[in-house]
Structure formats: structure tokens, C-alpha cells
């Protein structure tokens, strides 16, 4: 009985596209549209970089963009980690068997998804220091705009991550929890060792998507006095009336965060293949 079946693996490769299902006319139409689009973009980019970008100005304002970039990167990394931790708790709350816990988690998600992030940022940035107005002590936190930014982004994105993780948990077959529990593992151990790793993989695309949105949401922080990338843009633009020089720098700054982020997500996807498709 032993070993004789070891070549019997159930891994089935999905049917690769052999061209039989494509339509030649559609194919050429696609190529034409993509080609046209690319040429237009490249032409525009060429004109912008040769005629509309002031490279002396670019050099002069570059350090300010670097400062803003570093600040945004810090805020992003801290909020990202915190929102994933908080999001896991929200997700666990959303699948709780206890109605009280579940409805609190649901209410949390409804509030933070149902009101604008801009509004939530003001609640924290203006609302919390307002509690100190009547007290003799001054508001104790010095760099409040940074802290408020992290708190606001974390609370907001914990709601989105939480929904993604909830979906990921729901997609794990019930048999996994049954198998873990029937081995004598506690609920917490089963969740941590068996359910959440699978839920995280199920939710990976949605979580990665949300992290990219988190990066872009930092552009709102200008309203709570964070010197982020867009605020530097507006400053440079209103002082020099040059549009394209700072636009190019802004694009580079955001892409310098979101492109590596996409790479990290794809790396995690590969790492959680668990033997699928290769070996």
C-alpha cells in the first residue's frame, strides 16, 4: 500500500489558452487601441518632459518633495501595520457568534465606511483637542497633526481591512475549524494557526488594494496641516505658476510607494501558493 500511489497527484493545471477561443478581429482591435493609447501617452510625456518641465526649478524643489515623501512613507507604514492589526480584530468581530460583539463590529464598519475620511480626520484633529479647551492644562501631544493622521487613517482603513478579512474567514471551509477543534486546539489557537493564515491569503488581493488606497488617502492629510506630497505641490505651484514640474514630481513620489507595494503583494501571493502550480 505504501508509496505506490506517490505519483498520483491531484494537482491539475488549468487549461492554458491555446488561441482557439480568441477572435482574430477582436485581437487586432485590442492591439490597435492599446497602440494608439501608448503612442498618445508617450508623445505627451515627451512634449511635457522637453518643453514644459523646468529642470532648474525641479532641482530647487526636489528636497521638499523628498521630505514630504519620507513623511508620507512613515505615516503610511505605521497606519498600514496598525490598520491591519485593528482590521483583523474587526474581521474577527464581524464573524463572532456573539451577537453583541458582532453588532459592535458591524456598527464600527458602517460608521467608518459610511462617512468621508476627510470628516473623520477633522473629528480627530479638531475634536479631540477640543476636550482640553476648558481645562487649565494645554493639549499634551506636540506633533498632533502627525498623530491625528495616523489615528484617522488607521481607524478608517481598519474598517475596510476588517471587511476584507471577514470575507477571507468566511471563505475558509467549515471543516478546517472542525478539524482543528477536534484535535483539541482552542478556538484562539485554531483561528491563529489554521483559519487566519488561509483567510489572509483569501483576502490578500482586497487587502493589497486597500493599502494602495491608503497611500493615496494621505493626500487628504493636507487639511490637517501635514506637509504631505500634495501640499508641497500646491505650494510650489502657487509660488511659481509652474504646473508640470511639480506634477511630475508628485507622480514619481506616489508611484515610488505604490509600485513596490504591488510587488510585495505579488510576492506574498507567490509565497502562499502552498505547493500549487509548481514543484
Amino acid at each position: 500500500m505504501a508509496g505506490t500511489y506517490s505519483d498520483e497527484t491531484t494537482v491539475e493545471e488549468p487549461q492554458t489558452d491555446n488561441g482557439l477561443l480568441t477572435d482574430r478581429r477582436v485581437k487586432w482591435f485590442g492591439i490597435a487601441v492599446a497602440g494608439l493609447f501608448t503612442s498618445a501617452v508617450l508623445y505627451l510625456l515627451y512634449r511635457i518632459l522637453t518643453d514644459f518641465v523646468d529642470y532648474e526649478l525641479m532641482q530647487a524643489v526636489f528636497p521638499r518633495f523628498v521630505d514630504a515623501y519620507v513623511l508620507v512613507l512613515q505615516i503610511f507604514i505605521i497606519s498600514s501595520v496598525l490598520s491591519l492589526i485593528a482590521g483583523t480584530l474587526v474581521g474577527l468581530g464581524r464573524v463572532s457568534r456573539t451577537r453583541f460583539t458582532r453588532s459592535i463590529a458591524t456598527g464600527y464598519v458602517e460608521f467608518f465606511r459610511g462617512t468621508p475620511l476627510l470628516f473623520q480626520l477633522f473629528i480627530i484633529y479638531l475634536g479631540i483637542p477640543a476636550f482640553w479647551r476648558s481645562s487649565p492644562q494645554p493639549f499634551p501631544i506636540e506633533n498632533w497633526s502627525f498623530a491625528a493622521a495616523v489615528i484617522g487613517l488607521t481607524l478608517n482603513h481598519a474598517a475596510y481591512s476588517g471587511e476584507a478579512i471577514k470575507g477571507g474567514i468566511t471563505a475558509v471551509p467549515d471543516g478546517q475549524m472542525e478539524a482543528a477543534r477536534s484535535l483539541g486546539m482552542s478556538y484562539i489557537d485554531s483561528m491563529r494557526e489554521v483559519i487566519l493564515p488561509q483567510a489572509a491569503r483569501n483576502a490578500l488581493a482586497a487587502l493589497g488594494n486597500d493599502q494602495v488606497i491608503l497611500v493615496k488617502d494621505t493626500s487628504l492629510l493636507t487639511v490637517i496641516a501635514v506637509r504631505e506630497i500634495m501640499s508641497v505641490f500646491r505650494n510650489v505651484n502657487s509660488n511659481t505658476f509652474d504646473a508640470w514640474t511639480p506634477i511630475v514630481l508628485v507622480a514619481l513620489a506616489y508611484l515610488a510607494i505604490t509600485l513596490p507595494l504591488g510587488k510585495i503583494v505579488r510576492y506574498l501571493e507567490r509565497r502562499s501558493a502552498w505547493g500549487e502550480g509548481h514543484e
Binding site: M1, A2, G3, T4, Y5, S6, E8, T9, T10, V11, P173, G175, Q176, E178, A179, A180, R181, S182, L183, G184, M185, S186, D189, E193, V194, P197, Q198, R201, S272, W274, G275, E276, E279
Partner: protein, 245 residues
Amino acid sequence: MSNVPAVEFDGVDKYFGETHVLKDIDLEIEEQEVVVIIGPSGSGKSTLLRCVNRLEEIQDGEIRIQGTAITDPDVDVNRLRQRIGMVFQSFNLFPHKTALENVTLAPTKVRGVPKSEATEQGRDLLEEVGLGDQAESYPNQLSGGQQQRVAIARALAMDPSVMLFDEVTSALDPELVGEVLGVMRTLADEGMTMLVVTHEMGFAREVGDRIVLMADGNVIETGPPEEFFQNPETDRAKQFLSRVN
């Protein structure tokens, strides 16, 4: 061996909502006994099994494992389940862990067995089920029969006193059934107490010490395999056997 039964059902009733799925079940499984439960689908066989390790709650009566009532408020359900191994129809291996990690997870997490010791024991168990060379494979790299054998090794890693098998060959391709039944036969020969729900009549006849026929939530007939298969007493048993043979 003591005279206390390994598993004892005492007037067990179980409802799913309005449906009465287990009706006043009385059944004793002795130490080292292999009891095979057969019967048409929907007869309550799997539910009976799932009540033993409290994947389902019973509404009335008592189930005792080596004399201890499982519904006793003093019983820690996690400790109880460590003594009862369970193997499922759909394998339920952890897809993100290798075969070896599937086997070592519970001993290290629950029992606090050191990793090296658990790994050694895990390799031995995989060897026993004929998968010593597949320790580093992920479940989706294994055939159904191999996965089910890993699942058996995983359950054995907690050193249970009773093993529950819930239609463990029903999801397998016909040519893979034999390897899983082979492992179960070895276990039975080694003296494991086993409660087996199955549609494999050949296995029931050959390995079972006692056959239990269930229908509509009742135990219809119980007896040693030779008697049961040769001369069933009840009409219901005759009817069932004529259909499966």
C-alpha cells in the same frame, strides 16, 4: 482491560430544530473494539459520531468516554477532544501546512511537545501510514488517498484512546480506497478502539468486531459481522443488505 466501556451512549437524543435525528440511542463500545456503523444516508450515523467529540451537542441522555460524561460541566472540551481522534470524509487537511506540519501542529500547540520531538514522532507516523517520503509535500500535491492517510496520522499524533472515522473513503476515487482501508485495518489490528461510519461492506465484514445498523435515527440491529451479514434478524436489515449487495 477494565470493564468500563471506551464509549457509551446512554439514551442519547439529538434534534436539528424540529427533526429528531438520534432517537434514544443506547450503545457501548468496548476497549479495543472496532464498531462499524452502517445504514442509509440520513440515518444519523455521522451525527452519532460527531456527538462523541462534541462537534454536535446532544439534547438528552449521556455519552461517556471511559466512564466520564462528556457533557459534565467539569470536562474541558479541548482536553476531551485530545483523547478522541477524528478523520473526516473531506480530509480537512490544513492546506497551508506540509504533511509533516499538519501532523505536528496539535502536539506542539496543545501539548507543548518540543518541536524536534514532535517532528520525529510526526515522521514516524507518516512512515506508518506509508507516506514517509511525502513529509514536505503540501496537501494539494497529494492524491486523495494520501491526504486521507495524512489525516489519519494527524489524528494519531495526539495519541487518542478512540478513533472516529466518518465516511473516510466516500470522497475517494475507487482505486484509492484500498490504501486508506489498509491503514485502518492495521490500526484495528494494533488494538485501537474504533468507531467507523462507512459504506464499505467488505471492510465492515472483515475488520469490524461488531456491526451497527442505523436507520431514521434508531439503532435497528447490532451484532457480529458474520451473523449480521449472513442472518440478519430484522426486516429492515434484510432490506438494507439486499440493496447494498
